[in-house]
């Protein structure tokens, strides 16, 4: 099923042939199809050049959108507004509960409302630099351009962003930037943006433009005649396998942080949709680029099910510190100012507490490794608001972060207005994902990938408040233009779910479910998942080295073996069965994790979130190797063989390659 375009291009490979060219016998060069011309004009020119379909004809085309997070809900709504027949799917019982709902801190835009000399170019520049020069310039510039339209659109939808006393929108700062460009709705920005997109979606459901399928899990992608033409879903309430055909398939199924078992992602966040698509020919890009967020509530015990983020926005007013001496067991208030090490302010005087996430996380780990961690476990650092409360008053702090402080209090039973928070890094976001070209199309023609599920814009490290921006740019503004071009030019044949490709995919999904149910072993999916998480956190987490990665590479197949021989699932496939759902997702994590390790091993440099201990500067900062690795790694699945690594070379014309410094 792999789209290896070795043979001369057959008709259905014509697109792949444009995207893929051989570099040598083994390696393909992926061509992103970025338009030419000046950076500023690329997207405008491209939109003009993409083919149009008349409004009346749009209603003849159908689009499947999997996922109802920001990217999926925005895509479903905007496509239906244009007249396409949309089918929308999600795992949750309502589209409104998608994982995006939990985003806290805010969304970036280059409005320059703060008059601090922000601009589209500066947002572009910060994102390229923040991503440590591993993202595509053309995409990132388009993202920065669209950021302003997103804010306009969301305000028109009734998203209640924070405002100042003049009635204008308020902004805050986030890591990796020296300007205030983050729009927010208290600590519930994701919720408000998602409810806006969900409302737009529900309006189209009412109008008949969207057929809405909640409590459905996509288990297979259907590729017919070389094109993505449908999906197989499991109805989570009845267990029924359902086939859905369409003219294109859009995946917006979120990230795969839950490979690590413990992460800040929602419990149902998973990799199944993208992994199954990968196995049908979609290349997987930069799987090892995972973001470890510096400010999360530390792990408290072995029964913990997930980790809770404390938004990065807190670093605007909170100061990070540890005691100067290792093993200092005094309470934080007993430690005098002179015996505290505000290490971020000390090491990075320019950015201080607002350095990017990867830098802040590694520095926290270093303090803990030095024995200067705090709290009962010693695996935490302080985030202290005492100065800000004194300077700004409790009321202002409450207005800015009230719900986050409350969340912290509920979990820890401590009052952060009185005592500093204890925080530690946790897995949070995956920059890697399915490879897409400038049109957001994967290497499977007709399969588009949006939001966190793709790899596109954040390089090796995502800046705070940029995921919401990317999901909404993809969903509201990009996909409708590029899908239209595909539909206008692909000469698609009519297809029904009786096509052999559907029959095969349905049989594969059904066989997999049966196999899971019939293992009859003794261990739960969670137990094995937790073990996988420990391996990944230990060897493929905040810092990595060849030896550890080798250990992971040995451990993962053993876990997979244990899973397929010793899993125990209760209940049947014909009704709501949470254990079966979990097992299906863990099966995919057990495969994806290996690819992450392979990717980390083969990228012999440090960049952004990917810190290989062998490659660091004298000051322990990440040391890139632009001669060998100034590219995207895109992996091809090969049944029964080790995945093959291809590349998309990156060139930097507008932001010259430089060492990233936040000092």
């Amino acid at each position: 099923m792999s789209p290896t375009p070795a043979a001369p291009a057959t008709p259905d490979r014509s697109h792949a042939a444009k995207q893929l060219q051989w570099l040598d016998d083994e390696t393909l060069c992926l061509i992103p199809q970025s338009p030419g011309g000046r950076l500023e004009d690329k997207w405008d020119r491209h939109k003009f050049q993409l083919k149009l379909i008349s409004p009346a004809n749009k209603t003849k085309f159908s689009v499947i959108v999997v996922g109802t997070g920001l990217a999926g809900a925005a895509a479903a709504a905007s496509l239906a507004e244009l007249g396409y027949k949309v089918k929308s799917f999600c795992i949750n019982d309502s589209a409104r509960r998608a994982h995006s709902i939990a985003a806290q801190g805010g969304i970036n835009a280059a409005k320059n409302y703060s008059n601090d000399r922000d601009s589209v170019f500066r947002l572009f520049f910060d994102t390229i630099k923040g991503g440590d020069f591993r993202a595509r310039e053309a995409n990132v510039y388009r993202l920065a351009q669209l950021s302003n339209d997103i804010i306009d659109h969301c305000v028109a939808q009734g998203v209640p962003f924070a405002r100042d006393y003049g009635g204008f929108l308020d902004n805050r700062s986030f890591g990796g930037a020296l300007v205030s460009r983050t729009f927010y709705a208290k600590g519930q920005t994701g919720q408000q943006l998602l409810l806006g997109a969900y409302g737009a979606m529900m309006r189209q459901v009412a109008r008949g433009g969207i057929e809405y399928y909640p409590r459905r899990e996509m288990l297979e992608l259907v590729v017919a005649d070389g094109m993505a033409r449908g999906i197989i879903t499991r109805n989570l309430l009845t267990g029924e396998l359902e086939s859905h055909a369409a003219d294109v398939v859009v995946l917006a199924t979120g990230g795969y942080s839950n490979v690590f078992f413990l992460s800040t992602n929602a419990m149902a966040s998973n990799a199944t949709a993208v992994w199954r698509a990968h196995k049908k020919g979609a290349f997987f890009a930069n799987p090892c680029f995972t973001q470890i967020h510096p400010t999360c509530i530390p792990v408290h015990g072995e029964h913990q099910s997930k980790l809770t983020l404390m938004s990065e926005s807190l670093r605007n007013d909170g100061r990070v510190w540890v005691p100067k001496t290792a093993g200092d067991k005094r309470t934080p208030r007993e430690i005098p100012e002179s015996e505290r090490d505000y290490y971020l302010e000390r090491i990075y005087p320019t950015f201080g507490n607002l350095v990017p996430r990867d830098v802040a996380s590694r520095q926290a780990k270093r303090r803990v490794d030095e024995g200067r961690g705090v709290g009962p476990t010693g695996i935490a650092v302080y985030l202290d608001f005492a100065d800000s409360v004194k300077r700004l008053g409790r009321k202002t702090i409450e207005e800015r972060y009230g719900n986050l402080f409350e969340m912290y209090r509920k979990i820890t039973a401590e009052d952060p207005y009185q005592e500093p928070m204890r925080i530690y890094p946790a897995v949070h976001y995956t920059m890697g994902g399915l490879w897409v070209d400038y049109n957001l199309m994967s290497t499977v023609p007709g399969l588009y990938v949006l939001g966190e599920a793709n790899f596109s814009d954040h390089g090796a490290n995502r800046l705070g408040a940029s995921a919401l921006m990317q999901g909404l740019a993809d969903g509201y503004f990009i996909i409708s233009a590029t899908v239209e071009h595909h539909l206008a030019s692909a000469a698609l044949k009519p297809i029904t779910v009786d096509h052999d490709a559907f029959r095969e995919a349905r049989a594969a999904a059904s066989a997999k479910t049966l196999r899971l149910l019939n293992i009859g072993g003794s261990r739960t999916a969670d137990e094995i998942h937790r073990e996988l998480g420990q391996v990944m956190w230990e060897y493929c987490g905040m810092s990595r080295n060849a030896e550890g990665l080798g250990k992971a590479l040995a451990a993962i197949p053993k876990l997979r073996e244990a899973f397929w021989h010793d899993l125990h699932i209760t209940g049947s496939g014909e009704s709501l069965n949470g254990e079966l759902e979990k097992a299906g997702r863990v099966a995919d994590f057990l495969e994806l994790s290996e690819l992450m390790v392979l990717d980390a091993l083969s990228r012999e440099e440090s960049c952004g979130s990917h810190f290989r201990e062998e490659f660091q500067t004298g000051e322990n900062e990440a040391l890139r190797n632009d001669d060998r690795f100034c590219h995207v790694a895109a992996w091809e699945y090969r049944e029964g063989l080790r995945a093959r690594r291809h590349i998309e070379p990156l060139s930097f014309q507008y932001v010259p390659l430089m060492a990233r410094s936040y000092k």
Binding site: H99, I101, K186, F477
Partner: protein, 254 residues
């Protein structure tokens, strides 16, 4: 973490088990031992479920996802209270330190006519989606919007709109209401839109259609008891219901 309570507690759970929508459910009792007071209520249920799977008993089905009090998925009645004993909290935000060693804890699904039970503690809340479908949005097609700053909104109004928009759509208000009314949920959306200039264009149609849909879905009417405000995990205020009434009157007579 620092609270100086016992290292672990033992409790008894009385949980509603119902194999599917048609089955007659019943309470089952399960002892749970060695519970870490710092674990969350749902983590306690995870541990119990894990042990049930090992005994080849189907685990207790319950809805949950974010486990941070924002997605609105979790939905249990604990000792008679939707979302349990703590005010301003969802089920997933409860921690076991609220309970004492030896406690018996009774756990049921949200119960209301428009929310049929699907299995154990899982209910069907799609009626809330249909209320939103009737008009819980501003009809702004993508691409229509003027610059975000062209209409300033008074901070007071924006703050009120936000306080209403914070509703997580959990349905606890319905579950606690003796009439199974969705008035607080509906009022939150109507109120958010009514406070914003962008939302005023469609205000009359919105409120009329949403109220009609709520009634057609079998939710009862509001008798101003105020139980909803008490259980609401986001402390959505009854003032929004008062605004809903004004909006409805305005829509009927203007």
């Amino acid at each position: 973490m620092t609270s100086a309570g016992p290292a672990s507690i033992n409790i008894k759970l009385k949980v509603w088990r119902q194999s599917d929508a048609k089955a007659k459910g019943a309470f089952h009792e399960y002892p749970v031992t060695g519970v870490d007071p710092n674990s969350s209520f749902l983590e306690m249920l995870d541990t119990l479920n894990d042990s049930l799977v090992h005994q080849n008993i189907e685990p207790i089905a319950f809805d949950h996802d974010c486990r941070e009090g924002i997605c609105g998925a979790c939905s249990m009645v604990i000792n008679g209270n939707p979302h349990g004993p703590e005010t301003g909290s969802t089920t997933c935000q409860l921690h076991m330190r609220l309970f004492k060693d030896g406690d018996t804890i009774v756990v049921e699904p949200f119960r209301a006519r428009p929310f049929p039970v699907i299995k154990d503690l899982v209910i069907d809340r799609s009626a809330l989606d249909r209320i939103i479908m009737a008009g819980g949005y501003i009809s702004a097609d993508t691409g229509n919007a003027p610059d975000a700053h062209c209409i300033p909104v008074h901070k007071r109004d924006a703050d009120i709109a936000f306080s209403a928009a914070a509703c997580i759509g959990c349905g606890a208000c319905v579950a606690t209401c003796k009439n199974a009314s969705a008035q607080l949920f509906l009022a939150a959306k109507v109120s958010q839109m009514a406070m914003l200039p962008q939302g005023r264009v469609e205000r009359s149609e919105r409120v009329r259609k949403m109220v009609a849909t709520m009634e057609a879905e079998g939710f009862g009417s509001c008798s101003n008891t105020g139980a909803c405000e008490v259980v609401c995990p986001k402390s959505i205020s009854l003032a929004h219901i008062a605004r809903l009434h004004r909006e409805l009157l305005r829509a009927l007579f203007l």
